[in-house]
Amino acid sequence: MNRNPKKPFEYSRKWSMRFVFLITMVFLYAPILVLIVFSFNNSRRGGNVIWKGFTTKYYAKAFANEELMLAFANSMTIAVTSTIVSVFLGAMTAIFLWRFRFPFKPLAEGLVSLPIIIPEICMGVSLAMFFSQMGWWTTGNTPWPLNLSNIILAHITFSFPFAAMVIRTRLQNFNREMEEAAKDLGASEYRVFKDILLPHMKPGLIAAALLTFTLSLDDFVITFFTSGPNTVTFPVKIYSMVRFSITPEINAASTLLIVLTLILTFLALRYQRLTDAKHD
């Protein structure tokens, strides 16, 4: 290097650092990249590492696969419903924990965030037992989408603590004088919430919605334990297809899932940036 000498904190100009960064990127994204690339591979086997030419026929095949499409519809229904309920519950929980002082508050806070650290397998087993014990009425004959209700309940259970955590973080930097100022100007408790607190919470609500949606969309373990033969979700369906044989169709389906998640993330981030630039 013939430029200025390196300064102590210019890590990006150290070759060792660049190497570590490169390796990290490769391990993180190479598998995903391979998956996407081989979804266009004109080969009967998805695990085939030999490029046999470009094709989109496996996408057409995936879209034509009725079982896969039903699983996708199931996943979307579950994700949308559980997101709405989780964000609502999470917001209520966050406001409650942030706003009020009550006996055993640390205990309540711990209990709310417990589902975040409990191993998923334990939650899956306990929820499966819970539903069978109380004879939850989803049978093979239950009409769609009511047959998804136990999965939806399970998803709400594990994802609303995440929503509560994200929203609470946002509430933490709310200036309480803002609330008092609104009251001082004549606002009722309800108007303070609607005009002042809710707009402040909005980025947190969006982030929480995005997080719970993705959590629900790609959850496998808990869903696997609570789904029946007629209530297969997208990840569970892909898993059963993989067990059968790995075809590029699975690559195509997975790629669709990635693209969907990316679009949602992009939209949410963009929205948040817009509101941040305008208000904060």
Binding site: E180, A181, L185
Partner: protein, 393 residues
């Protein structure tokens, strides 16, 4: 409601005869076991700028929150226009507040911020628009109507907070440390502007501050609080010239204090024995409240004088023109701090606390070339000596 900005009567020079607008009667406030306020009685008069002054933790902010309605006093009552407001919720009081952080709503434009309170009152759109533009002109923000708060400077945000409160045409405007978040230069300009604004709108201002120079410069009257108790309510000049105790004297400006051991009243006044100054005969015929004749305990009376009333002469100067009954304290010349108009001269006195004197240029001339440690005498006229109850810690 009447529009205070519409009547063009200038603010009366003397608000002393105005009727009280806010009356605090025996106000006490406890947070658990902590006593924040104890038996506070103040009448704040219509149209005045009233300052609540005291060191942090003295209860001045709690008092302001009681007036605004965000705290309820444990004992006592609050009258506003002779009506009991002690338990009225803040959104129903004809009182508005400018918060220390300004608390401008970040997701609303300047105009939306200012009109928020009027929308809560369900006023007609035309009236809202008209009142908002009037008040924005008063605070010189007419060109910033559509700006968002993050496009405003600190000073401009404060104007938004002011406009937002004033547009409600409150009976009383409360300001919580209004200048503390501004930088020094802006603070001086804003001080003047707040006073001018108050003169235009005619609303009673109650200002909470810990900065004594701010209170003295802006307020018509000042209440000095210390650990939850009201020490003195008076005009700035009365606070300065006739402080009721050593705490007030020290908080409003600076004082040198000397403890006393014995006070006796006789025909010529008071004979005061002190440990450091010997025995003094002062023309004080009635002792101030809080000071008793007889032997003085540790928390008894102190003799005090201000650095401004000290003059300094060289010890060997025979043409001493100070009056013969003045207090004379010999010492050595210490540091001289140049302050522009005047200088602060330090007189060291061995183990005893040194004395500061504020002297002007002509008085400084004779000391100018003298080396440190030159023997000097600090004089203070008897009339400038104050006998005060010792309330300093």
């Amino acid at each position: 409601m009447t529009n205070p900005s519409a009547d063009n009567n200038p603010k009366p020079i003397n608000t002393a005869l105005n009727k009280p607008i806010v009356s605090l009667r025996n106000i006490g406030k406890q947070f658990g076991k902590v006593v924040a306020l104890e038996d506070v009685n103040i009448d704040i008069r219509e149209g005045e700028i009233f300052a609540l002054l005291g060191p942090s933790g003295c209860g001045k902010s709690t008092l302001l929150r009681i007036i605004s309605g965000f705290e309820t006093p444990t004992t006592g009552e609050l009258l506003l226009d002779e009506q009991d407001m002690t338990r009225m919720p803040p959104n129903k009081r004809p009182v508005n507040m400018v918060f220390q952080s300004y608390a401008v709503f970040p997701h609303m434009s300047v105009a939306d911020n200012v009109s928020y309170g009027l929308k809560m009152d369900r006023l007609a759109r035309d009236e809202i628009n008209q009142r908002v533009s009037t008040v924005l002109e008063q605070v010189h923000l007419q060109d910033f109507k559509d700006r968002m708060p993050d496009q405003l400077s600190g000073g401009q945000k404060q104007r938004v907070a002011l406009a937002r409160a004033l547009v409600k045409q409150p009976r009383v405007l409360l300001l919580d440390e209004p200048l503390s978040a501004l930088d020094a230069k802006l603070r001086d300009a804003m001080r003047l502007e707040l006073v001018k604004l108050q003169e235009t709108v005619g609303v009673t201002f109650i200002i909470v501050t810990h900065d004594q120079s701010e209170a003295l410069a802006m307020a018509d009257r000042v209440a000095v609080l210390e650990s939850g108790r009201l020490r003195q309510v008076d005009t700035p000049s009365a606070l300065y010239q006739k402080p009721v105790d050593a705490f007030v004297a020290d908080f409003i400006g600076r004082v040198h204090t000397f403890s006393t051991t014995q006070i006796e009243l006789n025909n010529e006044g008071a004979k005061i024995q002190t440990t450091e100054l010997g025995t003094l005969q002062l023309p004080i015929h009635t002792l101030p409240p809080g000071v008793q004749a007889g032997a003085q305990t540790e928390k008894g009376a102190v003799l005090a004088f201000r650095p401004e009333s000290v003059s300094i002469s060289l010890a060997d100067d025979t043409s001493n023109n100070a009056s013969h009954d003045a207090l004379k304290l010999p010492g050595l010349l210490g540091d001289v701090a140049f302050q522009g108009q005047h200088s602060i001269v330090e007189v060291t006195r061995g183990d005893a606390p040194s004395i500061s004197a504020i002297v002007d240029h002509s008085a400084l001339a004779s000391l100018q070339d003298k080396p440190l440690g030159t023997p000097v005498i600090a004089h203070c006229d008897q009339q400038n000596l104050m006998l005060l109850p010792d309330t300093l810690k």
